[in-house]
């Protein structure tokens, strides 16, 4: 307790050995003067938040698109070949766009080797994958697909550097879901096409969008998904539209509103940050 300070007392110094005349629980006026708040805190505008969240919406729409294709094939509305050919063409265009100027014959050769291997093995194994989960009841399959797709959403890489992100879990979830669904289709050729689509939607598409994503892309994707769902099922369309709009506009609004409660304390007790030595940077530091 700050007693009435006697005039003869030495001034209080912030060290542990010289304030003999002061009681141990004395609190000096300089207490907490090094306290800083919200040093590195960034405040986001609503527009930034909306643009940022569209990455998540893109992933939701990606899953929706894949499920739409599955539904089209399940009801035999569209033949598998008429799905496979256009998507392959689009993928080819996407590939050229992705490689851009760095495209060379050597690179093309290597990439096509990978492509042929994947397609060949996919085609060879599709009868087996088709029957792999056939004995499981449809309800179980759909529930399982729901959960693994949820995992895909949760662990997908949205460009954040946090422990939660795991590309492996995310991709495995999606592929596992695709294999589950493949067993409900009529022939193994259907199953093969579905797996190819899964690869395109969950492997190649994220690679492309990771570098070139812009929030405005969400608009055509949203329109396409809504239109297709309109012909498949109205309630699902409403559900999709509501979810997307909620995620894209209401959530950022809440986030921006609650930003004023940000209160980050910094002070001398914070751990100093140093670059950790890893195997990669060890040699340059020598």
């Amino acid at each position: 307790m700050a007693r009435t300070v006697q005039s003869k007392r030495k001034p209080w110094v912030k060290n542990l050995y010289s304030n003999r005349e002061y009681p141990d629980n004395y609190t000096d006026v300089s207490f907490l003067k090094d306290l800083r708040t919200n040093l590195n805190v960034r405040f986001y505008t609503f527009a930034e938040a909306v643009a940022g969240i569209s990455v998540l919406n893109n992933q939701i729409s990606c899953i929706t698109g894949f499920l739409i294709l599955y539904h089209l094939m399940l009801n035999d509305t569209v033949a598998p070949t008429s799905i496979l050919v256009p998507t392959c063409v689009i993928t080819g265009i996407g590939y050229l766009f992705y490689r851009g100027k760095s495209l060379s014959m050597k690179l093309l050769g290597e990439d096509s080797k990978t492509l042929v291997t994947v397609l060949l093995f996919g085609y060879m194994f599709s009868p087996m994958l088709h029957t792999l989960t056939q004995a499981i009841s449809t309800d179980t399959i759909y529930t399982m697909t729901f959960f693994v797709m949820l995992f895909n959403l949760m662990f997908a890489d949205y460009g954040l550097d946090v422990a939660m992100v795991s590309k492996a879990i995310s991709l495995n979830g999606a592929i596992f879901g695709a294999i589950c669904l493949a067993s409900r289709l009529s022939t193994s050729y259907h199953a093969f096409v579905l797996l190819v689509e899964a690869a395109i939607f969950f492997v190649l598409y994220p690679i492309l969008t990771a570098g070139t994503w812009h929030a405005i892309f969400m608009l055509p994707i949203f329109v396409i998904c809504c239109t297709t769902l309109y012909f498949i099922s109205r309630p699902v369309m409403h559900l999709y539209a509501c979810t997307t709009l909620f995620v894209n506009f209401i959530c950022p609004l809440i986030f921006v509103q609650y930003q004023r409660y940000k209160f980050n304390i910094h002070g001398p007790w914070d751990e100093a940050i140093v670059e950790e030595n890893t195997d990669e940077n060890l040699d340059e530091n020598l």
Binding site: L16, Y17, T27
Partner: protein
């Protein structure tokens, strides 16, 4: 006064908290108080034991969960803690370390039994991450049931006041101390012929800034008469060994590994300069021990370190490889100048000291300015002795005890109100603990609890035992 020290950390484990509890207990015993220590069982080390000077230690049979801490259940150990506290007729429960779940539980039981509670916080905490937020909440709840808190540095006090929202006047600052009679210099152990030894003694973990050290060592690749001695063990040891290999410094960087605390002095006296690269530290006993052994100390300026030693004993630098390197160069330069100025006379004196008893009277002139570096090892030791000693720490702690004894104990409604203020969810545990105590009061009423047999050093001698283990 009858005091019960509670902490998960006690001998046979080794560290800053353990040492603090042990030394403080010994001093309190010497001052004529009755002290018991409460900790969990360490492997075979279980039951009631007596250590030096009849310090009674209860190793409670509780399983260790993580990092030498018991599982924080809040209520499961209530009967055992109550039994110990009542049998020993404790007046003040003194918990140590925010990481110790046992300390928190004992403080709650103590508060519910109407005893006085004191808590010593030995560490600093950030506010940024999730684990810190969780620990801070628990600390806040527990400190709301504590009469008085003690921190080891002023930074620690600021930190504790902020994260646990305790009233400022309920927090005292009482530093750690070092036994300067144990950590004495011995220049004869240092290498001759102009070789300079740089000593590092810490656990080899990220928080101790071993990555900085790994950046500093290669800079001395081409200065052949600078050697490193590194004491301690931990996950970063591989990194240091790799660096040593890559720089071809196998001869010059000695990695000793983990060393018993009593042996640390033997390594320290071999060095001229002590380097501490911690990234955060509430008090840092290592630098005081090193200064007491007469080494020049180079340390990062983080946490409570700037408060610990006067500028004449320490070189403070930013936590950065270049800054540490430059400071070490300054320290080497100082040492060389000191060596050359200490002419023949000093050297002959030192030779005499090697044989005869060490007498710190024959030291060179003390420096004129307060900030001027003190280089004579014996003078360093004297200086540290004037700054810190355990007796002073114990007396100041006793003052805190006397203060809380005078305060009125928390009533149940006060406690419930306080807990409700910081985190109402904890009331679940609190209420369970309270009813358990009521039940126990019914089964084993307080006035019929048998008091523990008092073993004084004299009666112990009658039992033809001095400081060995009793069961």
């Amino acid at each position: 006064m009858r005091i019960c020290m509670v902490s998960d950390f006690f001998y046979p484990s080794i560290g800053g908290v353990e040492e603090h509890v042990y030394n403080l207990s010994q001093m309190l015993l010497a001052l004529g108080h009755k002290v018991v220590v409460l900790t969990h069982a360490y492997g075979d080390c279980t039951g009631v034991r007596y250590v030096t000077n009849m310090l009674k230690v209860y190793y409670l049979p509780i399983k260790v969960c993580y990092n030498q801490c018991i599982l924080p259940t809040a209520v499961c150990n209530v009967p055992m803690l109550r039994a110990v506290l009542l049998r020993e007729q404790v007046q003040v429960v003194h918990g140590h370390s925010a990481f110790s779940a046992l300390a928190h539980e004992a403080l709650m039981v103590g508060a519910l039994l109407g005893l006085k509670t004191v808590f010593t916080d030995h560490s600093l905490f950030g506010f940024a991450d999730l684990s810190a937020a969780l620990t801070n909440k628990l600390l806040e709840i527990n400190l709301s049931m504590v009469n008085h808190a003690i921190c080891v540095s002023h930074i620690g006090k600021e930190n504790t006041v902020l994260r646990a929202r305790v009233a400022k006047h309920r927090v005292s600052v009482i530093p750690n101390a070092v036994d300067t009679a144990l950590f004495t210099p011995d220049p004869s152990q240092r290498p001759q012929e102009g070789i300079i030894n740089i000593v590092v003694a810490s656990r080899l973990v990220y928080r101790k800034g071993i990555d900085l050290l790994a950046g500093v060592i290669p800079r001395f690749k081409n200065t052949p008469n600078i050697n490193f001695i590194i004491v301690g063990d931990g996950p970063k040891r591989d990194l240091l060994e790799e660096i040593r290999e890559k720089c071809n410094m196998q001869e010059r960087v000695e990695i000793v590994g983990a060393v018993e605390h009593a042996m640390v002095r033997d390594v320290l006296v071999r060095g001229h300069i002590f380097v501490n690269t911690s990234l955060t530290e509430a008090y840092c006993m290592a630098i005081v021990e090193a200064a007491s052994c007469g080494l020049q100390v180079v340390s990062t300026c983080v946490g409570g370190i700037p408060e610990v030693l006067p500028n004449s004993l320490i070189l403070l630098v930013e936590p950065d490889v270049d800054a540490i390197y430059n400071a070490i160069l300054v320290a080497i330069e100082r040492h060389r100048r000191h060596e050359s100025s200490c002419a023949e006379t000093a050297r002959s004196k030192r030779r005499r000291r090697k044989k005869g008893n060490v007498l710190p009277s024959a030291v060179p002139e003390p420096p004129k300015h307060a900030d001027e570096a003190v280089l004579c090892p014996y003078r360093c030791n004297e200086l540290v002795e004037t700054l810190y000693n355990w007796e002073d720490v114990a007396r100041r702690t006793v003052k805190v005890y006397e203060r809380v004894i005078k305060e009125s104990a928390f009533t149940l409604s006060e406690l419930i109100y306080a807990v409700n203020q910081c985190g109402s969810w904890f009331l679940v545990f609190f209420v369970v603990a309270h009813f358990m105590l009521l039940l126990l009061e019914y089964w084993r009423p307080r006035n019929r609890v048998e008091a523990a047999f008092e073993l004084t050093p004299k009666s112990a001698r009658d039992h033809k035992q001095s400081s060995k283990v009793f069961m």
